[in-house]
Structure formats: C-alpha cells, structure tokens
Symmetry: C2
C-alpha cells in the first residue's frame, strides 16, 4: 500500500534517476572523446553533448521537481536529514533552488564567455601575452560576481562560488586552515632547500618501457583496490577519472617512457578517485546518497593513495622488488632508499601540475588568494600578473619569467572555474587527517603495506567516506570519520616525518 | 523570407536531426559495449540503451511529424520525389506510417518475445536441443505474422517483413533472382568438389602475429579508401561496423593468430561497410538523403571489397610482397599462386559465417525458403530441423549432425529478424553487378589494382551508390548505376572466372 508521500518520493527518485541516465550517457561520450574518438568527429560530438546538456538542464529545473519536494519536505521522509530519504530531499532541494536562482540570460552569457575565454586563453598562452586574455577574464569575473549575487551569500561573494565545488564550505574557514598550513609549510620548504641535499631524480629518467609501465601500474591499481571488472585504464592527454554507471568507472593516464613518476603516480591518483567512485552505494546510483560529496573529499581519496600510501617507504618495501623485475634496465642495483628519495623530491617550480607534494599547496594558496581579490575587486585584472609574481616570490622564492609559465598556465579561470582551486589543497588536508585516523583505527598501516595489504585501508575508507555519499556535508563527514575538525597539523606532521627524514631535517 | 512551407520543412528536418543525435548517441553506447566496456557494466548499459530507445521511439511516432508531412506533401518540395527534399518527405512518411501502423501492444510483445527468444536460444544451442527453443520460436513466428498483417502487404506476408531490411523489395522478385543463382551455383560447387583439387589452406594456418595483422589490415583498409581520421578499427567478438556521427565510423574485427583470413577479410568487409558510411553526404546526416538505402546495398559494399577486390589476383599482385614482409615466418618462399588459391578455397560446410564466397549463398537460400514457409504456415516449427537437413543435403551435399551446427546456429530468428537473411545474398549479387559496371566505366580495374590504385573504384561507388543515400530505392539505384536490372549472371560469371580457373574448370 503506497501512501501518497511514498508515491511522490518514488516519482521524484525515478525522475532523478532518469536524469542520471542521461548524465551517464554524456559521460560515455566525453570519455570516448578523450580516449578513442577519431580526430574529425569532434564537431558532431560537440552537437551530441550540447543536445544532451539541454535535455539534462531542462529536467533539472523541471517544475515537477519543485512540486514533489514541496509535498515531501513536510512529511516523515524529511524527518532525519541524514537518512537516505532525508539526504535525497535535502540535496535535490539544494540543487533545484540553486539552478532556478540563476537567470537564463546569465547562464547563457556565462557559457558564451567561458567558451570564448578558453579559446582566447589558448591563443594568449601560446603567444605568451596576458593582455590578449585580460578582457575575456574581466568579463568572466564580472559575470561570476553576478552569479554570486544571484546565488546569494552571507559573508563573502566567494562563498557562493566555492559552494559549487565544496558544498557548504565557507571561505573564511578555508582561509584559516590554509593560512595555518602556509605558516608552517613555507619555512619547511625553505629548510629543505637550505639542506643542500639533492634527491637522485636521474634514476627516474631512465628507460621505462610503456608496456611494462602499463602492466605494473595496473597491478598496483588493483592491489590498492581498484576493481577492473567494473573499471578500465586507458590512455589520454589530460588524465581523468569518470564514472559511467554504478559499475563502470574509467581511469586514464599518459605515459612518458623516460619519466617513471608521470604515469605511475597518475595511475595511483586516478585509481584513488576511482576507488571512491566504486565505493559509492550501487543501489543509490543517481541519487544524492550515491553521489560523491565534494571535490575536496574526492581529491582526498586520490591524494591519499598517490602520496600518503604511494610515496611511503612501506609501500615500496613491498613493491620495489616488483618494480625492479618490471624495469630491470632502469632499476637493477638501485637501492630502495635512493628510489624512495627520488620519488619524494621537493623542488619549488613554476608549474602547478608538475609540482611536488609539498610545494603543490603553495601554488594553490596563491590562486586562492588571488581569485578572492579579483572577485571583490581589491585586485584588478590588469594588476594580476604583478600580484602573481609577488606571491610566487614570497611563497616559493621564484618568479615566472613570463605569463605562459605564470598567470596563464591554468585553464580554470578561462573556463569560469573560480572557487575550484582550494579543493585541491582541501583534498591534501582531508587525506592526511583521514590517513591518521585509519592508521589509529587499524592499528598501524605501515606493517600492512609492507605485506602488500591495502584492503583494510580501502574498507575503512569505504565505510567512513565512500558509502555515506552526501548523507553528511564534507566537513561533518570528515569530522565523524576522524574525530577532529579539519586542520593542517596531520598533513604537516606527515610531510615532516617522511620528507624531513629524507632531507635530514 | 521563409515561406510557411520552408518553415515546416525546417522544423521537420530539425526534429528529425535531433532524433538522429539520440540514435548516434545510442550507437556510441553500443560500440563501447562491444569493444571496451568492463564486464560488470552490462546491466546499467542495458538501462541506458532502453531509456534512449524509449526517447527515440516517442519521437519517431510524434504526431507533429504527421502534421508537418501532411502540410508539405501537397507543396512544391514534394514535386520531385528523387530530390533531397522530396526524398526526405517520402522516406519520413514511410517510416512514420510504418511505425504508427504497429499497435503498441504488438511492439511490446515482440520486444519481450525476442529478448526471451535470444535467452532461450543461447541455452538451447549450448544444450544442442531444438525442442527447448521451439516454443519461443513458434511465439515469435506468430507475432511476426501479426506484424505482417498490421503492416499490410499485397502479394506475400514476407513482403511486409523484408521491407524492414530491403525497402520496396518484393519476395517474388528476390525468389526469382535467387532461384536463377541456385540453378547455376549448386552444380558449379558440385563441379569444384568433383575436380579433386585442394587449395593449400595449411599456409593460412601458420603463425601470423596479431600486431602485424593489425598493422597490415589497417594499411589495406586505408589503401581501399577507409579514412582513419574519421574512423577507427578496434577488436570485438562479433565484428561490425557502426556510424556514430557524420565523420565517425567505427569498424571492428577479431584476430586469430593461426588463421590469417579471419581478421584480414573481416577488415576488408567492415571497411567496405565503412566506406559506404563515409561516402554518405555529411550535410544530409540524420536525414534520408544522408542515410544508407538498404541492407542489400550495404552488404554489396562490404562484399565487393572483401571478395571481388580482396580475393582477386590483381589485388594480391600488389599486396603479396607487403604481406610477405609483414609475415616473413609464414609467407617466405610461398608462391603467390598458392596463396591466392588458398584464400579462394571452396568447401561446403555447415556453418554460414565460416562459409566460402561460393557456398555462402546456398546457406542463405536455405534460410530464405524456410522462413517464408514458416511464416505462411506451410512448415511447422516442429518440422523445421528435418526441413533444414533436407535442404542442406540437397544444396550442399552435407547434413548437420546436430541442431547446434544446424538450425540453431544463427541468432537471427531468436531475435525476430525474419526477412533479413536474403539481404546477404542480394549484397553479393549487387556487388558483382556494380563491379562489372565500374570495370566497364573505368576501363579495366585489374590494371589499377595491380598498381595499388583503388581510389577510382571508390570514387565511382561514392558517386553512384553512396552519395545518393535514399534518393532512389535500392533496385532503381543499382539499375541506374549499372544499366541493368538485378540478375545472377554477373556474380556467376565472376565466380566462374576466378574460382573456375583455380579449380581447372
């Protein structure tokens, strides 16, 4: 006997799951575009994606959603906001209201400005000419301000944008945590440089045949718990992870025969994202309890496996003999200690995506501070390159010789992704805190890693982080899993322990 | 200044092109399912495809289509039925009326019966038990009779079903042509067997490394005119060709290291389909003038390149040195004549998909005759295995030892594909007739092939066969290209010339 409330809930969920079918179809098309699609097929692929986007957008602002939500929000299913039903209602309401708050005109203008922005950015970066990009960026900033106004905020306009990537996070909280990190990290990096020690990175640049890299990478991905019967690894230019269904997660990488870390740590990183995707509850696919909670938490899963596991000594105490067997030419006779030091090399550099684990966060802090200042108008677009250089000098001790290696290096701003960058560092911070908690709960992970046992950690993450989906906001989810609010101490302690030891600090 | 008629035409075409976007998206999902999809992802993929099917079906019977067609059919755009606009109106009307004539209940029952039918067929074939499959087949035949009644026909209920695959073809005409073919082909095959000559097929079963097969197959496919910048070759279990957009054609194959013909002629076959797809007019994509005209014509393009080109001596006079370089272990010292005889081996066998070029058509004639008799009720499902054996004895001189190698070998009937088989032989007949005409028009293809020149033939086919799309019905298209109505003489003459010479007839 279905009560009317249950029936409206079923309709709401059925409708939402159908939208998710279309989104997953879009995912298949995007994956294909970035892996196998023939070169000439791009134009029609854009048409296919645009048509699906339109269908999806129409469904996500469909007024029937509002009707079902109105009816259900006063009923018993909404009583517990952390139950699956309560989460579904809460999060669908959030999405529906956010989307309906944006005027159609603004959405269209933003789409146009960002398509244009990316085109101009590609040219400006190639020409190494910030002035060429400045008008497009000014227009995007202006529209993002409008977007923040339309969405509404209490403290800071940046809150409204951040919320798209890290729901419920507040700029002030993120700033406080990153400020704490910065205060300890910048001097720590300086001390590493002052140590005069150099990691033997040359050994990573020997010949690592691609076929062996692929085989070894797959073994490692499977060992840490990525399930290949419901996933794949393919090759692409800009690696990513995407879920195309409840049992279909695709990860990608790119190989450089003469630089081992690129593909290997890339695979661990994407496999970490994939393990999160595979840990979401299948029966909740397409609904908020079966959807990832935030980009920060997503990134915490990739960073945890890539860095805290994959660059740890115990991990390589297990895997190094296998690596030596896979790459005899490059690694025969190499001591484990040298290899481990090489993959933990710290060196300030200009390009974020090539940065090491420690300095990476300094790149993020630069962007986070600059985009807030742009949004409030404290900083003008014209003054951006100088501000960029100043912050790099201050935080990393180096300055870009030109715009291409500085302010023009990332695609994000040209695509309107303002508020996205801090989720990378939130990921690193969450990762360290989760790792510490799992280490406590599981009685010492190092010994397990040495034996090649990664399943206990994966199961702990599955239970505490993956399976809840959106039942708790990211910060609350992490607090429940770790017993602590987010802070910089766990990350700093782990960096000090591992890197400090290598650099004799 | 858009007249109202033009405006309705634009709406009609816009709507139809959007439906084509959804169909092309479905194509991407099916291609992925059959090439790369992880094993566990099948269940959700079925959900994605079912949802898209529903959207597509709703659009194809949308009453707005009827309204636009009603308005336009009395206007100037319909005046020339072979113009692009006239073809669009004629063929969209045809599709719309056919789909609307089928009761929803019948469509649903057919879908259910065929899903069930295929499941039972898989089990019955594995168990080698026709009785297990008989009830499902009876039900399908019954529903196909109902379908023929609902669609309507003048002469033969089979006409109504054939029309789905070979539009406008009549059973009586097909029967007459195939009867002519059978009268000459059966004794010709018997004479080959009586010749006592044996093709040296052993040399095709040596070691042909898969990577070299792939590289060599791609070279050959590109040489005959398949364009890889808007196409791909991948691996699958049951090879196919599919168009995923106006510049995105995917072909597939499977490799057997110890049997060269499987992948190589498979690639030429699928590339032939692909060259047709790539020869359709891009700007008419999604509309009838940009769509293939019939399965018979489609198959003519695959068979032409696979057999009439790919098994010809001039083709190998050009390619054999390349093959010897690609497969030195298998082909060093092998005379071209031996290789050419081996790839033209004729030997009656039980399994259609493994049949040689000559006996293949006899397999088709058996099925074509049996399915007509089943549909009219002249033959009962219970008597089908005996009738099958009788016809194989009569036409091929051999009898299946069991149902799995006989009446249960093909998936078609279990999937409701009744009326499909004859298009395979129509393809062979059209291919030979088109080849003869091109040979005449282009002043001797053999000399061109010897020089590795295949573009003149491809351009001839593009102009005469591909570019017209559905502007003429298949039979008329071929008559215009060749100056002759369809007959068996060209195919028989070509088989006699090539195979007769090899077997000393």
């Amino acid at each position: 006997m279905a009560s009317p409330a249950v029936s409206a809930f079923e309709q709401l969920c059925g409708f939402t799951r159908e939208t998710a079918v279309l989104e997953s179809v879009q995912g298949v098309l995007e994956w294909d575009e970035r892996t196998y699609m023939p070169v000439d097929a791009g134009e029609y692929r854009a048409e296919q994606l645009a048509y699906l986007s339109r269908l999806i957008h129409e469904r996500r602002i469909d007024s029937r959603l509002g009707g079902w939500l109105d009816e259900l929000e006063t009923g018993p299913l909404a009583a517990d906001p952390h139950s699956d039903a309560g989460t579904t209602l809460r999060q669908l309401r959030r999405d529906f209201d956010k989307r309906r708050r944006l005027p159609v005109r603004l959405v269209e203008e933003l789409t146009r400005a960002c398509v244009l922005g990316q085109q101009v950015w590609v040219k400006a970066r190639a020409a190494n000419d910030f002035a060429m990009f400045a008008p497009a960026l000014s227009r995007i900033i202006e529209l993002k301000r409008e977007q923040a106004m339309a969405l509404g905020y209490v403290e800071h306009p940046y809150d409204a944008l951040l919320d798209d990537y890290e729901p419920a996070a507040k700029t002030a909280d993120v700033a406080r945590v990153l400020e704490g990190l910065r205060r300890e990290l910048a001097p720590f990096v300086a001390a590493i440089l002052d140590s005069g020690k150099q990691a033997p990175v040359e050994l990573l640049k020997r010949s690592y045949p691609v076929a062996a890299q692929e085989a070894f990478g797959k073994v490692a991905a499977a060992a840490i718990g990525f399930e290949f019967q419901r996933g794949r690894l393919d090759v692409t230019h800009h690696p990513f992870c995407t879920g195309l269904g409840p049992k279909d997660c695709r990860i990608t990488t790119r190989y450089d025969e003469h630089y081992f870390p690129q593909a290997f740590f890339g695979i661990l990183h994407e496999a970490g994202h994939g393990i999160y995707d595979q840990g979401l509850r299948v029966e909740q696919y397409g609904l908020p309890p079966g959807t990832y909670v935030s980009l920060g938490i997503h990134e915490s899963q990739s960073r945890l496996w890539e860095n805290l596991v994959g660059r740890s000594l115990p991990f390589w105490e297990h895997f190094f003999p296998h690596a030596q067997a896979a790459f005899p030419e490059a690694l025969r006779g190499v001591p484990l200690a040298d290899f481990h030091f090489a993959i933990n090399n710290v060196r300030p550099s200009l390009i974020r995506v090539e940065a090491d684990e420690a300095t990476y966060n300094l790149h993020i802090i630069v962007r986070f501070e600059l985009e807030q200042a742009l949004l409030t108008g404290e900083l003008s677009v014209a003054d951006l390159p100088a501000a960029w250089s100043g912050k790099y000098r201050e935080l990393l001790g180096i300055e870009p010789p030109n715009a291409a290696n500085g302010v023009l290096q990332d695609i994000h701003w040209s695509a309107g992704l303002i508020g996205y960058f801090p989720t990378y560092s939130l990921g690193n911070l969450y990762a360290a805190q989760l790792f510490d908690a799992a280490d406590r709960d599981l009685g010492g992970l190092a010994a397990q890693f040495r034996r090649g046992e990664f399943q206990p950690l994966r199961e702990w993450l599955r239970e505490k982080v993956h399976a809840p989906g959106q039942c708790y906001p990211a910060a609350e989810l992490a607090q429940r899993a770790t017993g602590q609010p987010l802070g910089h101490a766990p990350l700093m302690r782990q960096l000090r322990e591992r890197l400090g030891a290598l650099y004799g600090l």
